[in-house]
Symmetry: C2
Subunit: 231 residues, 2 copies
Amino acid sequence: MSYAFEPIGIVHSPFREKFGIPRQPGLAPGAKARLELLAPFDRPEALDGLEGFSHIWLTFVFHQALGTRWRPRVRPPRLGGNRRVGVFASRSPFRPNPIGLSAVALEGVSGSGGKIELLLSGVDLLDGTPVLDIKPYIPYADSIPDARGGFAAGPPEACMRVRFSERAQRQLACRDDADGLGRLIVDLLAVDPRPAYADDGRPHRVYGMRLYDFDLKWRVRGDTIEVLELC
Amino acid sequence: MSYAFEPIGIVHSPFREKFGIPRQPGLAPGAKARLELLAPFDRPEALDGLEGFSHIWLTFVFHQALGTRWRPRVRPPRLGGNRRVGVFASRSPFRPNPIGLSAVALEGVSGSGGKIELLLSGVDLLDGTPVLDIKPYIPYADSIPDARGGFAAGPPEACMRVRFSERAQRQLACRDDADGLGRLIVDLLAVDPRPAYADDGRPHRVYGMRLYDFDLKWRVRGDTIEVLELC
């Protein structure tokens, strides 16, 4: 017995690869994305009343995890990548059904150019993510502030200072929305996206992550991350 | 393009029909259910660490809505059944992909008799519901207490008083867990489960809802619901 679902939309986001992507929604408020509704679901009436909600749930497919075998236990990055927990006690993409769930802020709905798009912020979604459902976030049912959060009780700590090299500052200044992009880069790097298990101890190692149409290059010096360039 | 998912578990719940079921999870804390993991997903290790979380997300199939045609606008019971909103602004089961989402309390995990079961409370799930995924509820990402809740800003009001007839009291007393069952019945009826649009004005109309293995019969007198019998 299995159930087949068709995507109702697709995400256009700055995140072109998993590395560096926020580990949960809401961690980088400046991470903006568009959710484009796909035919035959691109009916403006289907969104009537949604603007009364500040947040929505997206149920989506972890499309990069499709075709991988699930394992009963996984190593969440939150635990440094060396402790294992049950896959159902994690939000890992590698699960029996690779279905993801994110609460994101709804900034607006746009209907221009024949496309119906939801404007989102605080996303943790890869570019190209297929979306199966949109639901309103209903605070009285969905918000449980005193829930016990197991090994993920609090948000990851913003433990790193972030500075931009002169070169990176110049490159940033040439970009549309330089301020917003600068804040996004700080939010993404301040939580130290390096995987613990891949820390090979080379102090001058240059890391790269794909963001929008550029590579963001950076390195670590003590408790500071230096952005080298946007190229 | 479509995606196929296999159920990882099935819900055993007191709710045998849609009528009277809580409209969101958490509204009837006494609504207990078991989620039985199905092979090949019934691996105890897959739940390692889950007991550290007080609540979990269930992603499930609205199996009674399968095969119905979706419409861009629906009439949520919350709005009295006579105002329509976009299907994506609702939590209606009748949606392009009939996928449901509930945060429920995790009371424990049981591994007896060769079955692995999660013990749940506060459920709003029909008996027999196929579950596609279990995820931990992560308060820092999932709880947004100040989210704006549109037309569903607050929980439905418990506006009715509930009393039991002598006959219903006697029948209740013979049941296992009479106290818990009594509280559940009060929680279910206090919010007045009558659909607004079906109120035909007959003051002595007897309503019935299937709960566990019995029919719960009740009628309305002013602001009081009288439980007539459990038969």
